[in-house]
Assembly symmetry: C2
Homo-oligomer: 347 residues x 2
Amino acid sequence: MPVTKAYAAQSATSPLAPWTLERRKPKPHDVEMEILYCGVCHSDLHFARNEWGMTIFPVVPGHEIVGRVTAVGDHVKKFKVGELAGVGCLVDSCRECDNCKEGLEQYCTQGAVMSYNSMERDGSGLTYGGYSKSIVTHEDFVLHVSEKLPLAAVAPLLCAGITTYSPLRHWKVGKGMKVGILGLGGLGHMGVKFAVSMGAEVTMLSHSPSKEADAKRLGAHKFVLTSDEMQAKNVAGYFDFILDTVSAPHDYNFYLGMLRTNGVMVCVGVPPAPTAVHAMSLIFYRHTLAGSLIGGIPETQEMLDYCAAHQITSDIELIRMEQINEAYERMLKGDVRYRFVIDMASL
Amino acid sequence: MPVTKAYAAQSATSPLAPWTLERRKPKPHDVEMEILYCGVCHSDLHFARNEWGMTIFPVVPGHEIVGRVTAVGDHVKKFKVGELAGVGCLVDSCRECDNCKEGLEQYCTQGAVMSYNSMERDGSGLTYGGYSKSIVTHEDFVLHVSEKLPLAAVAPLLCAGITTYSPLRHWKVGKGMKVGILGLGGLGHMGVKFAVSMGAEVTMLSHSPSKEADAKRLGAHKFVLTSDEMQAKNVAGYFDFILDTVSAPHDYNFYLGMLRTNGVMVCVGVPPAPTAVHAMSLIFYRHTLAGSLIGGIPETQEMLDYCAAHQITSDIELIRMEQINEAYERMLKGDVRYRFVIDMASL
């Protein structure tokens, strides 16, 4: 078994530190790739610190993975050695349930296998993520990555990108629609770029005045300071669609009130506690509150192709592997515009 | 001004009692009707007892009104004296906003005028509802009622009927869909009848075993006792659509867990307090939680025509006007199958 360098957390309280792990030899349908860049998602931090109570240590986080193919199994037809490739949150699923058949592997009813901290379907062991030098993945879960885009800035598309792209597509956001993006972080900044590219009128909803200039730079047409009562009142009943990317506690009802008749708010962030919803916030003007989880493999490929066609990537700050613990601390303070990406050459 | 007999509450603590009120003389577009039957909705009780804090006394409740036209204004073309007619929750709206133009008068952005306890648009006074002998209404808000159906059992269609019909239509419930109806009361029993008539597989979700026989009699194909853990587990991820008619406190997350991928739960009941919603209940399997408020005038007419074509009416218990206070007490105990209707001949 090939040994690969990685960074792992050994316990909920220990910082991430060098470790080594074994990757399997490519099976007939596997793609082996050298990881060149890996994005840093907030869930990496949740897992490293066992904040969701489900971490099995040691854990190697990372599910925004891009690199170059170094070997392929005998039956692999989709990828060749030397090509760019990507791996996101999903590395396996049953392929047999209705959801898998429809390309919604993230909702596999037998439970999708995630890129890290997940048991392989054959029970052979846990998965380890992208904070490492290489990864071996079944070709069905490997994505094609364009040579045309700056590769480091492509990495966050594999999670932050698809998480925001998928609900905008599912709810048919496009020209003539007024869209609010709630929260300007790793997810929100991708939401702005996508919604603008789809032709919608895009408003950034933020409680932080310091985000206005950046929101406009990213393409947002308007900015509403949600802590300003007058500004908030001005958008009552205004939006067709709100993408709620906020994971901090916040009042759904306040934002539901900004939807027009038949308006839809989709949550992709997970606040630490349940949120109180007034039935009246839904009943009046026939509002919808929905959720969305990343995206399936076909839609992830569609999103990557869309990004190549529209020159869309993430705004990133490149870090070295040994800066990861510091990056987590800065992430907790919102001090990143808008995604840390690890340069794996540094490992 | 013609004087008409009515029943009114004079304060939040006084029982409903005889009163008289003046109805306007029919204006050119008005329809005057003798009220023959009026359904008793739970919101009547909320208003009579000022439980929503917005009642202006005296209040004459009642918004499930059927009767016979006794006079029409000079310009009225849709109705003739002697015809059956109905009036529901709405008696006026601006007609100019986008929602009114689309026939969604219940969401009139200038505020629809409700059948009782609402200010007329010209400021001429409050509206008084159907617990009375007659009513005068602009023809735009008067519905045609079939002679083919038992009239007393038609009355509840004007609120309980349209409130359940509208979301089933909006979300395209039909053949091949698995539908859960949550709660078997005035709304729920109509939900069962409609969903069955639309070709769905219908399951009654109730915590009361005593409702099973009745649910089946109404046409439900299955019954799930929600207090039985095994029965509830068996429908995890099962439904395409759940119509939640419950106004008592209940856990939305529990029922959201019964939805399959892309499943939709629509609330038409208003619990007394906001309900805690886990983002995870929405994000996993891309669930939707939505609301719906009665229905607009065109859809109410469509529903009444549909009921005539499909022989659908409400299950009712006919009462005399002087039994209304007793009926309220029984309604609070859920002791009605499934709607009280007042025989206005008794007034």
